[in-house]
Amino acid sequence: MTFQRKHILGLEELSAEEITLILDTAESMKEVSERDVKKVPALRGVTVCNLFYEPSTRTRSSFEIAEKRLSADVLNFTSSHSSVTKGETLLDTARNLEAMGASVIVIRHPLSGAPWLLANELDSSIINAGDGSHEHPSQALLDLFTIREIKGKIKGLKVVIAGDILHSRVARSNIWGLSKLGAEVRVVGPPTLIPKYLKQTKAKTFYNLDKAIEGADVVMMLRIQMERQDSEYFPSLREYSRFFGLKRDKLKKAKKNVTVMHPGPINRGIELSSDIADDAGSVILDQVSNGIAVRMAMFYLVASARRNQ
């Protein structure tokens, strides 16, 4: 199959075949990253703009490296959170960047749906680098890639996603991606942080970590947003980590070769006890390097879809 999409806005809109194509393409991109000269001319002459309304050095660097390995010209536009509500509108900013020649815009934004606004109004290709509590497709794709690499498959795996599902774009993208590729998805966390309406995703809901983990192949721990502890979602971080943090004894219920993942950065001792965090360290670093390959694949496919249109 060939990739037909001008934008990558989320995994909800992608078919299983499209997701698999991205993962397969990422494999050849990973091979590029292992060469001495880590550069191919796929995006030569293309200006890519990284439009970040949220600080995220990790994600932005990963996108930037991917862009440069494909020989794109890179423009970085970073804006603080406050400018979302003040001054120039998002649409005007993006139109300016387009006028400067950007034909691909990577956007990270604290509000859900911001990439859709751009996709509906601009000619540029839009790649979602995380929008509000909605989706974070490149993160989920790198998670899928890493799982496939370690387990050799995704179909039939039992994958637990634990923590703040309500506000997590990583969780939403992963739920779509994993279930489309045939994994059994279980979500677990305090009931205040688990949305009541997950029916259409087929994810199973648990409020008890032990029960959720039983027989799991992969446990994906989400980062808890420290600012949430001041609101009424849960009584204290101590209580959170006691009931919903991952410790060695809880992992015994999982499959022996269980893989523990985390999108990082980890709050040590809260989501993961330190010993598990260190064990899981190698996978977490795999996730980071796979992130570049996956993002290269996203650019590569979107750019060829643009050329074919």
Binding site: V84, S112, L198
Partner: protein
């Protein structure tokens, strides 16, 4: 100048009238329903409007409109709002007080009345605020606003969250026999919500407003109305729970009336998909179950009236991230065709639909409109219920075009609108 409207199907629920007949208008008033028209047609001083094949009814009455003036004239003015109303077949509109300044004292009411008299082409009645600045803390100048022309009080847009303040308002308004009009929403429960809480909000990662947010305040307001004996009118009912609560309250004799909007009986939260800010409104579009409950409520008269909650916003304000877009859509010019859909679907009879847009809303606020009785002001709409239209931005008379119905093919076209015997709109 006299006007003869000839050969139409006259439907006037206020007189239980539904027949093929003629209307003669003289000096701005309904003069008679002449049996023969030959003589009148020969009279040069009589303008003849042929209404053959059309429905002739009292001009529509919308008791929930936002005119945005004073303060937000870039969205709508009293003048443009009236033009939009006339194009939609409305001859009487009632405007909400959340302008800038807020209509919480007689001087703002007088400004609106003056503007409406000089620039408006339809009848305009204002609603005053319940509390000063719609802050929910202390009562606005309710008596003075009533004297100046206000026909009810509401903090529409926000609820009066303090039950004691609401109690005092409901006691106080009885001195003037006007209702308290409620925007039912528990703002703590709504929190940062921007659409209905459900599967769609979960999928889109948008904060949700649960139905309970509305149901709780409907229940509280009914309770306070029972305590005080006041007349309560509930705005834009959107949830199955509210319909159930209002139905039960009416059954035990509480003086409560309620309205439904065309968008709540036509659309569900699926319309928000792809972050369509023209589907962002408050209360939000709910689920199919709620939509059907609203329709059932109209059918069994739990919901008395159809009102539009016409809420204009400029395109720039809507073309932003979903969270940042203002709530609200325009509604005056799509109300008739959307309501006629209920008739086509055999949910309401044409007579009942017209009643919910004429004499019933007029009675709720004691406006004395919505009738073609001999001697009353000749406020008339002539429409073709079968004529197909495509809603597009070019045909809209409002200053704003924020509507989720742009591009829809609908049936029902307003041909003429008359206010006080003067033609104020012709297609």
């Amino acid at each position: 100048m006299s006007i003869l409207i000839k050969g139409g199907r006259i439907i006037d629920p206020s007189q239980k009238m539904d027949e093929k007949a003629n209307i003669l208008i003289e000096n701005g008033k309904v003069k008679s329903f002449p049996k023969t028209t030959k003589k009148l047609e020969q009279d040069k001083k009589v303008k003849v409007i042929n209404a053959k094949g059309k429905v002739v009814s009292p001009g529509f009455v919308d008791i929930h409109v936002h005119l945005r003036e004073p303060g937000f004239e870039h969205k709508e003015t009293i003048s443009s709002g009236c033009k939009s109303a006339a194009a939609g077949g409305f001859t009487t509109i009632v405007c909400m007080p959340n302008t800038n300044p807020i209509n919480d004292n007689a001087s703002v009411t007088e400004y609106i009345m003056l503007k409406a008299r000089t620039e408006g082409i339809v009848n305009v009645f204002p609603i005053g605020a319940i509390t000063k600045g719609e802050k929910g803390e202390s009562l606005a100048q309710i008596g003075e606003m009533y004297e100046a022309g206000c026909v009810g009080v509401s903090d529409d847009g926000v609820p009066v969250m303090n039950s004691k303040v609401l109690r005092h308002a409901m006691e106080y308004v009885q001195a003037f026999d006007i209702p308290v009009i409620s925007h039912a929403e528990d703002i703590n429960l709504s929190g940062a919500g921007v659409m209905n809480e459900g599967e769609v909000s979960t999928q889109l990662g948008l904060a949700g407003i649960p139905c309970a947010s509305e149901d709780i305040i409907v229940s509280r307001d009914i309770t306070v109305a029972e305590l005080t004996g006041a007349r309560l009118h509930i705005c834009h009912v959107s949830s199955a729970g509210s319909v159930r609560l209002i139905k039960a309250a009416k059954k035990r004799g509480v003086k409560v009336t309620a309205e439904a909007t065309p968008h709540h009986f036509t659309l569900t939260d699926e319309a928000v998909n792809q972050y369509n800010t023209n589907a962002k409104m408050n209360p939000p579009l709910r689920t199919e179950k709620d939509r059907l409950a609203v329709i059932q409520g109209l059918k069994d008269d739990t919901l008395d009236a159809i009102a539009t909650d016409h809420a204009p916003h400029s395109e720039d304000e809507k073309k932003v991230e979903f969270d940042l877009a203002p709530f609200g859509i325009i509604g005056l010019e799509t109300c008739l065709p959307l309501s006629l859909k209920l008739v086509e679907d055999k949910v309401l009879s044409l007579n009942k639909m017209i009643s919910k847009m004429t004499n019933i809303p007029s009675d709720i606020l004691k406006l004395g409109k919505g009738t073609l009785a001999v001697g009353s002001a000749a406020d008339v709409v002539i429409f073709d219920p079968d004529k197909e239209i495509t809603v597009d931005t070019d045909m809209i008379h409002s200053k704003s075009t924020n509507s989720p119905f742009i591009g829809w093919n609908l049936k029902g076209k307003v041909e003429h609108t008359l206010v006080n015997g003067k033609v104020v709109f012709s297609a």
